[in-house]
Amino acid sequence: MDALLMAGMIVQNILIAFSFSMFLWRRSILSDIAEQTFISTSMAMVLVGAVGQIRANGITPLLNGKVLLLVPIALGILIYSQFFRKYAFFQRWSMAVVLGVGFGIVIMTSVETTILRNLSESVLQVTQVPVATAANNILMIIALFCTVSYFIFTRPRTGALARVQRFGRYFMMVYFGAVFGSTVMSRLGNYIAIIQTFLNNLGMAT
């Protein structure tokens, strides 16, 4: 087991160095190896995931007597018709089931949760509350109003509407700034993780 761990650490560092060589040096056989490793291991993971799921949720219940599952299994196999030009259209049938069910779910959830919950949470008290809360609430209602107005495309952008839309844009910029400021941390998290792995494998930094 220890030999495996040792080998793992060496392979890890070699692959990290290979991956970085694309940026630090130039594209070469080393970076090609790293890239190919990325692609083929990801693909293997995809295949293992698919086989695992088909086994768990198709084959096992089928063997336990749920014969109806033959229909989705057949539809699933039809997806592979796309590799034969003449019969490629069959995959559209299978995708129609996946997309139809998917859109059915998405339509109702986006109306019930995404639209209505967000809308009703924005109906805020501005009277009978402390001044600071009232100010925040007014700001929130205005921000929501301006932002939605920004995306009205069939009214000419003049006069009051134009001003409202400009404020909507400013509010959105604050939002995007917040997203940017947050995203930095998760991006850096990866970067630090890779440096840490590299140092760890070399026996530095614990």
Binding site: T41, V97, V98, G102, T147, M172, Y175, A178
Partner: protein, 210 residues
């Protein structure tokens, strides 16, 4: 010919409309038969989606074969990739994801290359910060100020510099951010709902034909 009939778009539109409207109808009315059917339909969709994810692997295999046959530059690397993929899939499928072989390949090979590749983008953020993030108009000024404040909110150092940074960051998150995010979510939800309705009644399919 029969094949031409099967190929027609109407069949696809009918399947789409049936599945979509059945799921929607079940949501609004309680009919036991419909309910059972929709439950089954949802499980089917999940199972078919599993088959669909496998397509990526075969597409990759086919591309690799074509490239190797054509002896494109770097083809030995492609063969290395195929061998690696086959070995990893073999371990994963026949010895299970809990097996040593698959776990080792996952932990030491896949994890490091994936992280390294994504991490390579990070220095570009820093380079961009120095040379491209310009406060060239009011939009960008607001953007950068909010970004910097949120960075100081997220990183523990912010509180050390000034105890007010967490408060300001929290206010940005709670007030302007939340309401704009709500607005954008409403818009996205509306767009998705409209697109979905158009899709399941076959408008998009029909439009693609033209």
């Amino acid at each position: 010919m029969a094949l031409a009939t099967l190929r027609s778009r109407e069949i696809v539109v009918i399947i789409l409309a049936f599945c979509g409207l059945a799921v929607l109808a079940d949501y609004f009315v309680r009919i036991p038969v419909l309910r059972t059917a929709v439950d089954e339909l949802k499980v089917w969709a999940v199972l078919i989606a599993a088959f669909a994810t496998g397509v990526g692997f075969f597409g990759y295999a086919r591309r690799t074969i074509i490239k190797t046959r054509a002896r494109e530059p770097g083809w030995p690397v492609l063969i290395y990739g195929v061998i690696l993929a086959i070995v990893m899939s073999y371990f994963g499928i026949f010895y299970g994801v809990e097996g040593t072989g698959y776990s080792w390949l996952f932990n030491y090979v896949l994890q490091s290359v994936r992280t390294a590749t994504v991490a390579l983008g990070t220095p570009f953020i820093f380079s961009a910060a120095l040379r491209a993030f310009r406060a060239r108009n009011l939009d960008a000024v607001l953007f950068l100020i909010a970004g910097v404040l949120l960075m100081l909110y997220n990183a523990p150092i912010g509180e050390v510099i000034w105890s007010g940074f967490p408060v300001v960051g929290q206010w940005i998150l709670d007030v302007p951010q939340t309401s704009v995010n709500r607005a954008l979510m409403i818009l996205t939800g509306l767009g998705l709902a409209a697109y979905g309705i158009r899709y399941i009644v076959g408008f998009e399919e029909m439009a693609a034909e033209r």
